[in-house]
């Protein structure tokens, strides 16, 4: 920040007051969640506000970064630590840039800037991680995975990798890494507190050969990794065919996994102890999120029963496998934003024989402006889906075309440009024993939130 700032003589306290007033005004007037702007204003007044406030968190800061699973992983951690009676603060609205973290700190401080919290749990955008790490000491960084995502914003995957690495190395943060993603497992060598992963999958049928996976090379000899088993994307049990390098030994892992329509069960192994977990979240990707959360909880000495309880009683966050009942119909909302996550979500929806499906695609900055990613996503599984599929959003015709080329009969592709029409139509089609799955991109999710509100209901982000 330039020192020409006319407000620079004002104190942190002033910034906090401005932030708090702005947050209240935005929320009171219904202009939105106010999860970024208050922090932005406050940072203008006091550029060192984030380090000032974050230093007041007694235990420390846990950051969750990586392409997919940031929100749910940090939500699961919050659920476990809450169950363990820790006092936490958490950017649960998903505002995960510098301004969002600042806003979260302001929200959780009193008017004088006092914060009563044991742990700060922050999901942090990959590109924002180095910037935030330079301003505050992050104790633990959990890295979930690394997939192609919004390349119009991030540039290349290698760039994202470097950003996360810088973010970790700046404070020499301790890390918890997804061992199954070879790029993540090789991110750093020192200060790794735990590697988590999946022991094996008994049902291999779920892996498709045409699935896009990121390339991964052995950091010792440069050879491309080979796999004993692939779980999805490039996540799996891998080894180097040229040298001794292989997937690290798993400190915390899942085995005996059964992924059902909208939930899953698995054995969670921590230090030789086995917990049987029933996770009320769909898809294999959520098993990974649970593993990440269990790992950090274990490191913070939370006992096994509390971990189980925290995982199983998790209530979902805004648009992340969030379930609501609207006009007596069950709706499950799962944000989609990149090929890896979307492929898993589509697969999960197909797992549900009673699924009705709406896919809503926008191309705003927050969605990724290039919709090429739709063609890297495995929509082909929907060709076997017998019900109509509704598409909506600014790019509804791109999506409709994608479904056509994925082998969905054209008569089953219903285009509703307006998301509200799509929602109402979808609700009408859905029976009492069915679930309406809505797969929106980010700004479609925000639109959906407003529409749901106008119908007299609410999503958790509201």
């Amino acid at each position: 920040m330039p020192n020409t700032n006319p407000f620079s003589f004002l104190s942190h306290e002033c910034a906090i007051i401005v932030g708090k007033v702005a947050a209240r005004a935005i929320r009171f007037l219904g202009y939105g969640l106010g999860s970024n702007l208050p922090g932005k204003l406050a940072n203008k007044i006091s550029p060192k506000l984030l380090p000032y406030l974050s230093a007041k968190i007694q235990g420390g800061i846990i950051a969750v970064s990586g392409t997919n699973g940031k929100s749910t992983t940090s939500g699961l951690i919050a659920s476990i630590l809450n169950t363990a009676k820790f006092k936490i603060i958490h950017n649960k609205q998903g505002a995960n840039l510098y301004t969002g973290i600042t806003t979260c700190l302001i929200d959780n401080s009193d008017w004088l800037g006092n914060i009563e919290a044991d742990w700060g749990i922050f999901e942090i955008d990959e590109a924002a991680l180095p910037q935030i790490a330079r301003q505050t000491n992050i104790d633990y960084v959990i890295v979930t995975n690394l997939f192609r995502d919004q390349l119009d914003r991030f540039g290349e995957l290698d760039t994202t990798f470097q950003l996360i690495k810088q973010g970790i190395e700046f404070n020499k943060s301790k890390t918890i890494l997804n061992a199954d993603d070879p790029n993540i497992a090789q991110l750093v060598e020192n200060n790794v507190e735990a590697y988590y992963g999946i022991k094996k999958l008994s049902n291999q049928s779920s892996v498709s050969d045409s699935e896009i996976r990121e390339l991964a090379y052995c950091s010792f000899c440069g050879n491309e990794f080979k796999y004993n088993q692939i779980f999805y994307g490039q996540l799996g049990d891998y080894y180097c065919s040229n040298c001794e390098n292989k997937r690290p030994n798993l400190n915390i892992f899942a085995d005996n996994i059964h992924v059902l329509a909208q939930e899953s069960s698995f054995d969670l192994w921590i230090n030789g102890n086995c917990l049987s977990i029933n996770l009320k979240l769909p898809g294999l990707f959520n098993v990974y999120n649970a593993l990440a959360a269990a790992s950090i909880a274990h490191i913070l000495n939370v006992n096994a029963e509390t971990i189980k309880h925290g995982l199983e009683n998790y209530s979902t966050l805004f648009g992340r496998s969030e379930k609501i009942v609207l006009h007596n119909k069950t709706i499950l909302i799962q944000l989609i934003k990149n090929p890896a996550g979307a492929s898993q979500t589509v697969k999960a929806a197909c797992h549900d024989p009673n699924a009705r499906i709406i896919i809503a695609i926008n191309d705003n900055l927050a969605d990724g402006r290039d919709v090429s990613w739709l063609w890297d996503t495995e929509f082909e599984v929907l060709s076997k889906h017998t019900n109509e599929i509704i598409v909506s959003g600014k790019r509804c015709y791109d999506m409709a075309t994608r479904l056509k080329y994925a082998g969905v009969p054209e008569k089953n592709i219903i285009v509703k440009e307006s998301l509200k029409d799509a929602l109402l139509f979808g609700i009408d089609l859905t029976n009492q024993n069915q679930t309406l799955w809505i797969l929106p991109t980010y700004t479609c999710l925000l639109d959906l939130q407003k529409i749901v509100k106008s119908l007299g209901y609410s999503l958790s982000g509201t």
Binding site: D152, Y397, T401, K404, Y405
Partner: protein, 251 residues
Amino acid sequence: MNNDLKTGTTNLRIAHLYAHFLNIYGDKGNIIALVKRANWRNIDVEVVAIDLNQKLDYNYFDIFFVGGGQDKQQQIIASDLKSHGHGLKEAIASGAVILSVCGGYQLLGHYYRPHQGADLEGISLIDAFTVAGNKRMIGNVVIERENGLQLVGFENHSGKTYLGKDVKALGKVITGNGNNGEDKLEGVCQAIGSGFVYGTYLHGSLLPKNPHLTDEIIRCALRRRFGEINLTKLDDKLETLAHDKALHFQA
């Protein structure tokens, strides 16, 4: 359904070069579009992924496709592609079609000159070269071809490509940057012998939303072994809607 073709009488052979390395940005969509639009006309399609150090039967394939990758992958494949340069040139001269997008397109020229380090040598299939630019050109693109038809897509590149004066561009830029953001040209569409070289920066993916181009490429590629074939008209309602909507997107 089809007057001209019976199942099994015609087939299309596609070599997807470095599918494993170059697939960063919906390249798969182009293959899907070629396969589907051929299949819908009872034309069988065989797609073979060609890896590094793999022998390539230049005479066998009708279409060669090269997508885009990250810098590291581009470097890995560049010298291997170079080894196919001569073979590809002959294949195209005798009627095959090559379609290349983004990174693959750059390597069809003489070289790619990065900010630092040595030039990445291309295969000089077309008289063109690419230099690394300072700003990334990102956004929606509309171009108009010589025949008046428009193509829509999305560009995301910092390399600036310049065509030699005898080389034909794919189209003129209406919206967006195109080859270099300077000369209002986008891509390349150049006849070599009886074959064609197509190159472009357009993702989107390119072919699904531009079915007229997809069909042009299929027709062109079939000519090599089957002569002139009338492709049955397909119902392109959805594709056309997607295309027409995209004409009005902001860059």
